[in-house]
């Protein structure tokens, strides 16, 4: 007993010595530099206004160019697929024919033939701009001129080709099978809302207003594969689906979207019907400009294929009934799905995203670890107690 007391006293003295050495007021020198976050320089308000005006001009300029293209479009009586207009360079007839052939196969793959709404693809080939008198024109976003009350049968998709596809179209890159496949995917994704107009005609008033209010985020892709190939959707752009979500990323979305990712039908319903209550006038010209990073501004994940998946699931007739319905969106959609919108969407969401857990919850590994430590402590105490010698 006496010897153990000595050890205990020595231990306490050791702790005291350490405390005197390391704790304030004497303190210890810092082991590293303190964490300091400097501000990134931001533009002056005047510069930010100039940038905002440049962005507005880009959108207006894209609208002008789409409007200029509309009267020039002439349908090719021999081809059912979209007419293609190239801007920025004059192409050889062989190059044009190659692109048209790929477009024909894309069109057939979408199950489209002769359509009431004629689609035109305006491909902007990349060229250098060196003007200081005007901002750089729109080069990194697609834009669409959807049918309106003055032109009910024309839809034009503006597709900037960028450096890679420009050199491919101009024949500066080998047209290998893999590249052709990716080129076809790029063209298909570029059709955007125009593919829906071609397949199902002009939507009813409520559906059109709903889509306009949410900038067509649920109708950007009609194809059955991912937007850039098999399984490649906006979710893939947001992060590798094999790994858990970053919470910063999750909470950058609206609450309804987060609830839908968590598998809650009420959240899914709210995410789907966002914008449905608004009564929007369809502008003339009806220019649709998806956000620059549209995958970060979605209400559903992967929203770009939501309407396309519904169309494939319910079949053409039921989808057409929804598309042209005069009923409010929730009623028309529930009728087409033959299920409550929230439930169907929650199931659809589960096909892409493992539902996340919201709210406080101890992780399984944490619980196991805590129980293990508790059991170990109990065994240790019990073992010690059994070895006690009472005199």
């Amino acid at each position: 007993m006496a010897s153990l007391k000595g050890w205990v006293v020595a231990g306490l003295l050791g702790c005291l010595a350490l405390a005197l050495a390391y704790l304030p007021p004497r303190g210890a020198s810092s082991s590293g530099s303190p964490f300091f976050v400097g501000q990134s320089p931001s533009g002056t308000p005047a510069r930010q206004r100039a940038k905002a005006l440049a962005e507005e001009w880009r959108n207006a300029d894209a609208a002008v160019r789409l409007l200029e293209d509309r009267p020039r479009v002439k349908g090719d009586s021999l081809r059912a697929s979209p007419a293609i207009v190239f801007r920025g360079a004059t192409l050889s007839s062989n190059s044009v024919r190659d692109v048209e052939n790929v477009m024909d196969s894309v069109w057939r793959a979408l199950g489209l033939g002769e359509t009431k709404v004629r689609v035109t693809l305006a491909i902007e080939l990349q060229r250098p701009y060196a003007s200081v008198d005007a901002p750089t024109p729109l080069q990194d976003r697609v834009a669409y001129l959807a049918p309106d009350s003055t032109h009910r049968t024309d839809c034009i998709a503006y597709l900037p080709a960028g450096a890679y596809w420009t050199s491919f179209i101009l024949g500066k890159r080998d047209a290998m099978q893999d590249r052709l496949g990716r080129f076809a995917q790029w063209l298909q994704a570029g059709l955007g809302p125009c593919a829906f107009y071609a397949a199902y005609g002009n939507p009813g008033r409520h559906v059109q207003s709903w889509l306009a209010a949410r900038n067509w985020d649920v109708g950007l892709y009609l194809g059955s594969h991912g937007i850039a190939g098999e399984r490649f959707s906006s979710l893939t752009i947001l992060g590798d689906p094999r790994f858990p979500w970053f919470w910063d990323g999750v909470y950058s979305f609206p609450p309804a979207t987060v609830a839908c990712i968590a598998g809650r039908p009420s959240g899914c319903r709210a995410a789907v019907l966002a914008g449905a209550a608004e009564e929007r006038m369809i502008p003339i010209p009806n220019v649709v400009l998806p956000e620059r990073r549209w995958w970060r501004a979605q209400h559903l994940l992967p929203g770009e294929r939501y309407l396309g998946d519904i169309a494939r699931t319910v079949g053409r007739d039921r989808f057409l009934a929804f598309w042209t319905s005069g009923e409010p969106v929730d009623t028309a959609l529930a009728a087409a799905l033959k299920r409550p919108v929230g439930e169907w969407t929650a199931d659809w969401e589960r096909g892409f995203v493992q539902p996340i857990r919201l709210g406080p919850a101890a992780p399984l590994e944490g619980v196991v670890m805590a129980l293990t430590i508790a059991v170990f402590a109990i065994v240790l105490v019990a073992g010690t107690a059994s070895r006690r010698q009472i005199r």
Partner: protein, 362 residues
């Protein structure tokens, strides 16, 4: 009369969509023109505002001049002069005679209290630094943020980094040595063994055609690259079949997949630090005007620029680079003679303590 009226009405109705189109177009044009004119005006105002902001941000600041370095900062305990005196020799020795142009690129710092929770004003010009940095940390900041004079994009793309001075050139060379002996690449191994042509290949000097075959020489390397680095990328869509073939050791499929990659996405066998060491050696060999010669002709091929800078044949320069890197072999870890004795003694001591332990008695 009624027939004429009817014809007029029909013509008017037929023309109305065209007129509508014209008015929509005119409105769109007008809007674009109006925005363009507003943007031009806003640009002019923004230029003036930026210039005024530059003046405002530096008003009441001290200017510290050491060599050609100019540092504009608000009064603070930051040891900027001492740091600049340390950094200037390294900067001057790298950029040589062109370093004199750094007077045109002053550093603008705002020293701030790192411990306060008071909201700082928005920063428009320069950079913020905590004012409790020591001389070493401050000089490191000066070295890592110096604006390389006349630096061009072609050179930066090839280098894969920005050419700035370093206080530890030996560490860079050792890092390259480790890459030469550990990177699983026949081309790199050939370079390590003294094949200068291979060294030029892996440093991306000279002929830029067929880099795939020259960087990834063996079918095994190409397969490893496809399966490892690009496995997930190729696993989707039309390339999935080719990926399977590649994984079954069909080199044609692997090569085709790698050739389909966008330009510039093929991983370089050696990290940018290898090229950095080569450039530093070229500048060292070429004397004070070496950097001036390096940046004199941005359109020339890299090997010509390096050769001009060093005033050496490119093969000779690469050979010097290789010798320099081989000489930087890291020193193997050696124990002093008494370390093993101390280890045995400590082991024996703890063993003795353990044997002496008795049952607990409370």
């Amino acid at each position: 009369m009624s027939r004429v009226l009817l014809l007029w009405c029909a013509a008017t109705l037929a023309m109305s969509p065209l007129r509508g189109q014209d008015s929509v177009m005119a409105r769109a044009h007008h809007r674009a023109d109006s925005l363009l004119s507003s943007w031009r005006e806003a640009q002019r105002l923004a230029d003036v505002a930026d210039s005024l902001e530059q003046v405002r941000a530096t008003a009441g600041s001290d200017t510290i001049a050491v060599g050609a370095l100019r540092i504009i900062a608000n009064p603070s305990p930051l040891p900027l002069r001492e740091a600049a005196e340390r950094a200037w020799p390294a900067i001057d020795s790298l950029y040589g005679s062109v370093a004199a142009e750094l007077t045109e690129h002053p550093y603008i710092f705002r020293a701030v209290d790192p411990d306060t929770a008071v909201r700082r004003t928005v920063l428009h010009v320069g950079a913020e630094l905590p004012w409790d940095l020591d001389v070493h940390a401050t000089s490191r900041i000066l070295l890592t943020t110096v604006t390389p004079p006349r630096f061009d994009h072609a050179f930066a793309d090839w280098l894969g980094a920005t050419l700035r001075p370093t206080l530890r050139p030996g560490d860079e060379r050792s890092a390259v040595y480790l890459q030469l002996v550990t990177v699983p690449s026949e081309a790199v191994r050939g370079c390590f063994l003294g094949d200068i042509v291979r060294c030029k290949d892996v440093l991306q000097i000279g002929d830029s055609s067929g880099v795939l075959a020259r960087w990834y020489v063996t079918p095994a390397e190409r397969e490893a690259l496809v399966s490892g680095v690009f496995g997930d990328y190729f696993a989707r869509g039309g390339t999935a079949l080719s990926l399977q073939k590649c994984r079954r050791h069909q080199d044609d499929a692997c090569t085709a997949l790698l050739q389909s990659l966008p330009p510039g996405s093929l991983p370089r066998p050696l990290a940018p630090v290898a090229r950095m060491v080569l450039v530093r050696e070229a500048l060292r060999a070429g004397g004070r005007d070496a950097y001036r010669r390096l940046v004199a002709h941005p359109d020339s091929p890299i090997e010509t620029r390096l050769s001009n800078a060093a005033e050496l044949d490119i093969d000779a320069l690469v050979a010097r680079w290789r010798e320099l890197v081989l000489a930087a072999r890291p020193v193997p870890l050696t124990f002093p003679w008494w370390a093993s004795v101390a280890a045995v003694l400590w082991t024996a001591f703890f063993g003795f303590c353990a044997l002496r332990s008795s049952r607990w008695r409370l």
